[in-house]
Structures are given as structure tokens and as C-alpha cells.
Symmetry: C2
Subunit: 298 residues, 2 copies
DNA sequence: CCATCATGTCAGTTTTTCTCACATATTAGC
DNA sequence: GCTAATATGTGAGAAAAACTGACATGATGG
């Protein structure tokens, strides 16, 4: 038997991890599955933690669980702490195995922004072993097998992530030049043209309409696509007017394949690099540096 | 025997904690003492962690240890993560036991700034159970039995702390009005007066001299005190001119007990509230709110 | 009101971790 | 150089912690 010193204020770490899982899933059973143990084991861990902290963490409410205020507070810390530990260890292990740094981003961004610039990244950091993976998911926390993701999103950022803001998102209508004759057309010209949508950004057109003083109810839904990328392909073959982030059409505008007669407007979203909490590794720092450079440059 | 899934990327948490301690103390033996186990146990934990991560973490260098680059990286995460867990648990436990929120600050600040304003804090948040403790130490991380500390310091802030910047530090010479006759004296008048110093801020006078264009070599060391508070007591009885942060002499200036004929100059230091990483509790948030209000007000 | 689903609990077992003793390696002092 | 002192590394057995599996309990919904 061992007396517990008061200064020894850290309870069993495994109990904390069990707590974190239960708090996340709001279910002892699901948490147990994730942790590869039986629900009994998790139940005991929670009880042990409650005893050690001297607070009640969950209340049974019918068939489910609800967090007490104390649990809510604790969860904020445990989720971040375990996020951090998980990623640091995963990162180390992968690097030790010679695996590349894994960066996730949406397929559209990958195809239209990243890949065309990849040669410049390679030129700057020839030995940077980067693996790009398409990752449409809005999910957070990151899977343990991804080092970082790039995505467009709006603040506030979640507490258990580190978001490096890279650039504001700017959106605007783009189309093939043949679709519009006038050099500086009035926004109302749009009303006569087919509008292309994406399911992931349903607010894009309404937002632009209202920013330009057009009647939002006039937004027609001529054609919708699952991803930005498909919408842009459609715009490129002249099917209609797409509303797209400026960064994704840079190349097409420069090459004259598309035009953006009304320019782009700022949205409240930001292009950000989402990292697990903690210090980024050297490779990630290089990546950030290059991204900043690349996004400022133009 | 259990096969380890690749996705199971979190090694033994106790091993991570052992690692964190060893990395901090650079000694298996000292870490073992802190963790209340034998050095053999810690040695095994480290080896186990190295096996699980597939990286070497320490090199024996003569009698001591040095961190590998990988260990350095890992430590950044573990220290922050365990800091966070320790404080969240300590905070919860203390609150559960009905213990007050513990705020540390220097004795001088406590006596000259905080206590005179305590009645206002009580008026605003009558049920805020706050315990103030004098804490001269510059040490970080916080002891697990303190929820936050206030201190004057210069950026950059350490990565494993959350520093809420409250106000810039402004310093200036103060003295009893009898010591100086002129209403708007020239700074050079100082040279004829005894200068009071503190050991904790040896740079205060030289900085002020050079900011005012005076010859730094002219700084005489007439009398030195261990703490700001003693220096100010000396100034109050007319022993000489003290150099003090504006916040600590507000009351004395208002009451006419002291004068600051040359005003105050900004330093690069900030008064900050140092918190462990993670979301602050509700009590701490109230405290921050009140501190902001109180420091802006004047 | 019974079938279902979820959590709580217990005794016994498995797994992990720790201790203790000894081995090894480096350094400082004589 | 040798020795004493200081550290870390390693093994077998002991101790502690965690897990399992079976059963109990409580809520929900047809």
C-alpha cells in the first residue's frame, strides 16, 4: 500500500486516456472498442479517475452519458494533450520508418494549386519527402497517420488544433472568355448565365450575390457538382459560371482559359494549415515557410 | 501476446512520462526519484519507448545523457502535454476539495498592487475563492499547486506556457516630494540624489539613464534591496530615489506620498498572467477579465 | 411488460511494471 | 594508474495494475 502525496497530482494516465475517449464518444462501450478493451475495464478506469480527482465526471441520463461541468473542463485539456502526444509519437515513428511527411488537402486544392507548384517546392527543398493525400473530410482531430492538413475554414479555430493562417479565401465567378463579350460587364449580366455550384460550398453564390448587391433569391441552381474540381472542369468547357476561390483558378486565369470579370471578394474563411498542438517538426516548418512564400508571391 | 496495430500509434503513456522526466533532468536517477520508482524501472521504460517508436532517444555521454534530435522533438510535445494534464487534474482536485484558486505573484506586486484592489475584485465576484501567494521564483513550469502566476517578463514566452499579456511594464524614478523642489526638474538633477536599487532588477536604472540620454556610467549604487517592496519603503521614508514599475506606485502617487517628476518609460517587459497550456477554468477567466478591466481603467 | 441496449460490479487471471541485486562504464581525486 | 564515487543497464522474481467474462442493474421503446 502506498500513501499518495498531495503533490503527486497526476492520476493514472491510462484512466485519463479512457476518460478522454468516453468524453469524446459519450459512450463507455464505444470508447472501450476504440481502446481495444472491454467496457468493464473502461468503467473501472472512469471510476478510479473520479475517486482520484474527487469529482463526479459523468451522469447517466437515460441510455446515454452527459459530462459534468468538471468533465467538460477536463476534456478540454485531455483532448489537446493526447492529440499532441499521439501526433508527436506518430510523426516520430513514421519518420523513423523512413516514411514521408503526410499532408492532406482537398482533391480540388491538390489538383489545381498544389501539384502545379510542386516542382518549385522540390526545387527549394529537394530532400523534403512529402506525401500528398486527398482528404475531403472535415473531420478533426486528424487521423494519427496524417501530419497536417490544409483547408479553407472560418475562425474560430478549435482549441485542440494549431491553425496556421496562410491566406484569406477570396471567391468570385469565373468562366470561359467566350461566355461574356463585354470587357467590364455589370454583375446583373450573371442572371442570364447558367450558374455552377458545389455541394461543399452552398453559401458561395448567395454570399457573392449579396456582396454585389444582387437579389439573393435570384440565385438559380442550374448545375451542381460534388467537388470544386468538377465544377471547374465544367466551367472550363464552357458549361456555365463557376464560383471559385481565387487560389484554385490562378493558373487558368493566367493562361486565359478562364476570366473573372468581377474579380474576387474576401470571405470570412481562411486558407489554413491545420497542425496538431505542439511544436511542428523541421519538415513542417519548411513546408510552412514555402507555403507562405508561395501564397504571398502572387 | 497481442499484435500491435499500426494505427495504434500511442506508446505506453507511463513510458512517455518517464521519458519526459529523464529529458527534463537529463538523468535517469533523478527522474526516478521524481517518479518515486527505482532507476531500473525508468531505464526499462526508456528502452521500451525507444523500441516502440523505433528511434534512439538518448546517447550516453560520459556520466550524463544527451538528447538525440528525435528526443528533442518529442520532449517539446511531452512537456507541454503533461504540463497541461498535471494542471488540469490539479486544478480539478483542488476545486473539488473546496480549495481556492491559487494565484502566485511577487511579494511587491502582491502588497502594492493586488491587495489594495482586492476589495474591488471581491465586490465584482463575491464568490470567487482566490488565494494569493507570494512567489518570487522565476521558475517554470509552475508547481502543480499553483493555478497561475503574474509576473513581469519579456517575450518571447516559453512554448509550454500560455501567457496572457496584460499590460506593458513602465518604469520611472519615484521619491518623496520633499526630495525635489522644482516642479519640472531636469533629469540630470538625479545625479545629486541617492539612488535605490533592487537586486532583481539591476538593469532598471541603466535602462532609464540611457533612455533619458544620461551617461550610464554615472549610475551610482547607493543602496540596494532584495525586493522592490523594500526599496519602495525606503523611498517612502525619503532615503532616496527608487526606480519602480508604474503599477506598483499608483496609490502612492495618487496620495501624494511619492512623486514621479519624469514620468515613466516603456520597457520591453510585459505584465503577464502565466497559465498552464489549455483552456483556463471559469474562475481564471473571471480573474483575467477583472485584471484587464483594472489595468485598463487607470 | 418484455426485448434491447447500455453501464456498473466482482472475482479471478493476465499483463505490466517495479524492485533488488549485480554488472558495466565513466570520472575525479589521490 | 588505481580506487572510490557516480551513473546507467539488465535480469529474475515480486508486486501492482489492468483486463476479462459473467452477471446485475437501470432505461427505453415498441
Amino acid at each position: 500500500m502506498m500513501e499518495k502525496a498531495l503533490s503527486q497530482s497526476l492520476p493514472s494516465l491510462n484512466a485519463l486516456r479512457a476518460f478522454n475517449e468516453v468524453a469524446r464518444t459519450l459512450s463507455v462501450t464505444r470508447a472501450a472498442e476504440t481502446l481495444n478493451v472491454t467496457h468493464g475495464a473502461v468503467s473501472r478506469q472512469i471510476r478510479q479517475l473520479e475517486d482520484q480527482l474527487g469529482v463526479s465526471l459523468f451522469r447517466r441520463e437515460g441510455r446515454g452519458l452527459v459530462l459534468t461541468a468538471e468533465a467538460e473542463y477536463l476534456r478540454a485539456s485531455t483532448s489537446q494533450a493526447f492529440e499532441q502526444l499521439t501526433h508527436a509519437c506518430g510523426h516520430l515513428r513514421r519518420r523513423a520508418a523512413g516514411a514521408p511527411v503526410v499532408l492532406g488537402c482537398s482533391g480540388s486544392f491538390l489538383a489545381r494549386w498544389f501539384i502545379p507548384r510542386l516542382h518549385r517546392l522540390k526545387a527549394r527543398y529537394p530532400d523534403l519527402n512529402l506525401h500528398l493525400t486527398a482528404d475531403e473530410g472535415e473531420k478533426w482531430p486528424l487521423g494519427a497517420d496524417v501530419d497536417a492538413v490544409m483547408r479553407f475554414a472560418e475562425p474560430p479555430w478549435p482549441a485542440d488544433a494549431r491553425v496556421i493562417e496562410l491566406a484569406p479565401e477570396r471567391i468570385g465567378p469565373v468562366m470561359v472568355p467566350e461566355l461574356i463579350e463585354v470587357a467590364a460587364p455589370d454583375p446583373s449580366e450573371l442572371l442570364g448565365l447558367p450558374l455552377l455550384h458545389t455541394e461543399s460550398r452552398e453559401q458561395a453564390w448567395p454570399r457573392w450575390f449579396s456582396a454585389e448587391g444582387l437579389d439573393v433569391t435570384q440565385v438559380r441552381k442550374d448545375q451542381s457538382f460534388e467537388h470544386l474540381n468538377y465544377m471547374l472542369e465544367a466551367a472550363l468547357v464552357g458549361l456555365g459560371v463557376a464560383i471559385a476561390p481565387a487560389y484554385l483558378v490562378e493558373e487558368d486565369l493566367r493562361a486565359g482559359r478562364l476570366v473573372a470579370p468581377w474579380g474576387f471578394i474576401d470571405t470570412s474563411a481562411r486558407l489554413g494549415l491545420w497542425l496538431p498542438p505542439g511544436e511542428p517538426g523541421r519538415e513542417i516548418e519548411r513546408l510552412i515557410q514555402w507555403l507562405r512564400l508561395e501564397l504571398e508571391a502572387q
